[in-house]
Symmetry: C2
Subunit: 585 residues, 2 copies
């Protein structure tokens, strides 16, 4: 095996082209085997193997700096930079992150997991180099639909006038996560079709030197190209055409589905017949769009993450828009649609709604545009530090005018969807949890247009449990355990994360000593703190349960729950401590 | 006067070209006279007079929809849409907002004050129109440097594939707020130089139909051009070259300075000899950059707003970067620079740091990049709803890893700058208030690397006042008034908005009944709530003082202070209410 000889980038430099080709095959085999066990980004990594080998053959990392966009195509890089054990030894499969991580290796410059950042980060590195009078190459590797993101476009605009060394490798695999959208991609196609020779060239328009490579999976040609531009003193674009998923038949054929795979998918197509919040929402949208032709479903390049498969998307026709990876535009777009009298519904991951705070504030909230936003993957998880779902409550709920709803059951979710889509008063966001919501069988008849009206589920005394969204189930557990301890507590489903039911909260003062809040997200700036502030000048004690302000990185959920006191037992213990203190007085 | 006859856009349609030219002069005169009294955007509005007349001559607002980017060039539009009294009658000078405002007129589609949003909003309007089977024109008017903003670029990418009517008027006045930067502007110059004929054309690359007009201040040619594209079924760019400041000599000559003018400036150049926080920072940076060649000062297109005049910028040479209006890129760029070992200092308005939440989180905080951010114009103000400085504490302080400092004096500000720039551990933001910080004459010897150590200014009992940043002065007033009432209270300057001094807070429990927090910003998700949560399970009462979660719009500061209980008397009254309640028990 060639891979046996590779322990650092210097070892790559000693290889012949034939060995490099064999190395590429071995790397693919290792990655497929590993990712098929652990889950992970398959398609993007398979496409970039040769370019990564060529990079380490020509350039001198870590002296030269390579910045991977999203860094979900950094597995080959990890294989070549001292971390191959993480791909070859099943016991170490989980040792390394799925993204670049400076704490793992000096060859990883940044921790990156959101798209479209590489050009800006690399421009900064290049500027630092110039200020310090250093001479190394700075390389940004970007692809996979990242180019349409605002930060990438802003970055291109500024990188092009840097007036010194800066090499942007544009890995054009003809795909975003799903198919590509927008005028940029029309230009990229034209450039591919003309082998880079078309006059209309967005990169040249911006002032870049531009090179095109038709076979971006040919290591020999890649090496030649990289050698040509090494130590250039001009901002340069290398537009290389690669094949996403190369080397795994299923990934080559089902490019979107195999962007990220789950265990077993390397062997066979997954069973798509399951039910979760998003398949339910999909069916709901299908029916709703048939009845109302002004409903438009919007995704920003990640329809798969919310279960919007190709068949479904096609069935919606012009009632579906994928704006590509362009979350800011998505919010401007739905704001415009809502003000224009249509009914947009935008589905976006909790972690990615971060990319659009100002648009939420200025385009949407300030105009009270009655658009609907579905926030996906929301909540504490064992995920990578770059894809946490814990920050959306502080982000959204401190912006005026937005109504942020948290369903606790399937019926509530549907009723909230009905309300959000058909009202004309407010921007409404609905927090869709990671766990599949339970069906109660009882129709929800709530009128959600009466804002901030909490649901009093059980009227008790002494302790009140305000349990939001999918932590309502946790609230029930706490309620039961307190009952076991002889406490007849009050249980409340707040439904709204953006406002207080001051009447209900006021009434709790009469016969309650302790109020606890449960939310599946960051406490700082979150829902619970607003309740605590309400009670600040009263005798009621308040305990807030949620996550700490921190970036957690692949920590098992049960560990996080222990740490944050998010188990029924730990919560009850904290409550009892206060109750007994009070009793002792 | 032609203007006498104009009460709505229909009146414009009846004019001859000669009358339109006279109208343009009359509008300019009215605007200059008014803005010279009230302050306001001068340059951009003077440049767009003819285009606005031509728009209303050719198109049918409000049937056709016109979206103004930033909408700081909507004064001519206001003059023609029933609001001329706001420019002609000095008593009504303040009646209308400086930006488009749907509550004022059916001709204003959105409330807009941040740049780069018009294309996305208009794309949404166009999509709504198509879904509803309607036929009107949708027009976005963008210029003044807005084109480099991420949302505008994302919007271009998607507008170009809309496949129906969408007209983008690109008002190229060869300026951002300051001069333009980046590859885009190089291309715009090429297009101007070739009268739109250059082959390298970014708009055509994206798939737009493209028209160029050399004299964008000629109403006749504008009418001809607009007529040509009216009812087009293709996304179309009209690149019109205009003269910023046209009609006011000083504004034509000093384009940057006269972008926004203050009273009297229409008559003569303002006196630039004053001292405020930003002139102090400017002098500090001047010295610091001379000593340390790795310091780089960064602005995102608004250097004037932080007092970075042209002479100063030039004096920094390559140690100054203006990335243009591209706040996301700015954060990526400084993150890259900091990780690369340089010392970036980015000055940005509180209202505009909103444009970069995800970059703060992912590029900066997750990488613990030791960059310095100076947050300007922070605090409650009588400003427009689109430019409030109240949201930055909730925005920044709930992101992990960032250290957010709030100086209370000039000496602290300098010491915090020293610390932020020269440390290598954390991203550090410093909140620069609107009021000029006082000089104490006493050197600040604090070691700010010991995080979250609050300063105990006066040790008292019963009441503790935690007064942050520029509200520290308010804290002193409250302290004095409480003293008059016989209360010997504790006064604390927290310095840090991002963390708690748990030791100090814990010790307050011993002999305090009430803790109050004062912060110049939104309470929801802000600093005070964190203190309240800390005391949630204790007997201490906590009152948080700050602003409510709302968009206020040109409300006088004293009214806001009354409403929010931010005067010493109102605060003391609230405190005494609790103290006497407690005493009565």
């Amino acid at each position: 095996m060639v891979l046996d000889k590779i322990n650092c980038p210097d070892d790559v430099k000693k290889l012949t082209f034939d060995e490099m080709k064999n190395l590429a095959s071995e790397m693919r085999e290792a990655m497929i085997k590993k990712v098929d066990v652990t889950s992970g980004h398959m398609g993007p990594n398979l496409g970039i193997v040769e370019a990564t080998i060529a990079l380490h053959y020509v350039f001198n990392s870590p002296y030269d700096k390579i910045v991977y966009d999203v860094s979900h195509q950094s597995y080959p890089h990890k294989l070549l930079t001292g971390r191959k054990e993480g791909f070859l030894n099943p016991e170490l499969y989980l040792k390394y992150a799925g993204y670049t991580a400076p704490e793992e290796s000096e060859h990883d410059v940044f921790k990156v997991g959101h798209t479209s950042t590489s050009i800006s980060l690399a421009t900064g590195l290049a500027k630092a180099r110039d200020l310090k009078g250093e001479k190394h190459n700075v390389i940004a590797l970007i692809g996979d639909g990242s180019m349409s993101g605002g930060e990438a476009l802003e970055g291109l605009n500024n990188a092009s006038v840097l007036n010194s060394n800066m090499i942007i490798i544009f890995n054009d695999n003809q795909m975003s996560i799903a198919e590509n959208h927008g005028g940029l991609y029309t230009n990229f196609k034209l450039l591919r079709d003309t082998k880079g020779k078309a006059e209309l060239n967005i990169f040249k328009s911006l002032g870049f030197e531009y090179h095109y490579l038709e076979d971006g999976n040919d290591v020999e040609q890649l090496v030649e190209l990289f050698k040509k531009v090494k130590d250039t003193n001009k901002p340069t674009i290398l537009h290389i055409k690669t094949i996403k998923g190369l080397g795994l038949k299923l990934a080559e054929e089902y490019k979107e589905l195999y962007h990220y795979i789950f265990p077993g998918m390397a062997q066979k197509l997954p069973d798509m017949d399951y039910e979760d919040n998003w398949t339910l929402i999909r069916d709901y949208i299908k029916k709703a769009t048939k009845k109302d032709k002004t409903i438009n479903l919007v995704s920003a390049g990640t329809p798969g993450a919310t279960g919007f498969d190709e068949e479904f998307r096609k069935s919606l026709g012009s009632q579906y828009t994928d704006v590509g990876i362009a979350e800011q535009h998505a919010i401007g777009y739905i704001s415009g649609m809502a003000v224009g009298g249509a009914k947009p519904v935008y589905a976006v991951l909790s972690s990615f709604i971060q990319r659009t705070y100002d648009q939420l504030s200025q385009d949407l909230a300030l105009n009270n545009a009655p658009a609907t936003i579905l926030v996906a993957w929301a909540g504490i998880s064992n995920g990578d530090a770059t894809h946490l779902g814990t920050f959306d409550i502080p982000l959204i709920s401190n912006i005026p005018n937005i109504v942020y709803l948290a369903p606790t059951t399937r019926e509530e979710m549907f009723k909230m969807l009905d309300y959000a889509i058909n009202q004309n008063e407010h921007p409404v966001a609905i927090r869709i949890p990671l766990v599949t919501l339970k069906e109660t069988g009882i129709e929800d008849r709530t009128d959600y247009s009466i804002l901030n009206k909490y649901k009093l589920i059980k009227q008790g005394k002494d302790v009140a449990i305000i349990a939001a969204g999918d932590f309502y189930e946790l609230g029930i557990e706490v309620y039961k355990k307190l009952k076991e301890k002889g406490l007849d507590s009050t249980l409340i489903n707040p439904c709204y994360l953006t406002g207080l039911d001051t009447n209900m909260l006021e009434s709790l003062k009469n016969n309650h000593k302790v109020v606890i809040t449960l939310e599946n997200g960051e406490l700082d700036g979150g829902f619970g703190e607003k309740i605590t502030r309400f009670y600040g000048n009263s005798d009621i004690k308040v305990l807030n349960f949620g996550s700490t302000k921190e970036f957690t990185d692949r920590i098992p959920l049960n560990e996080l729950y222990e740490k944050y006191h998010l188990t029924p037992d730990l919560i009850v213990q904290d409550v009892m401590n206060i109750i007994s203190e009070k009793a002792a007085l």
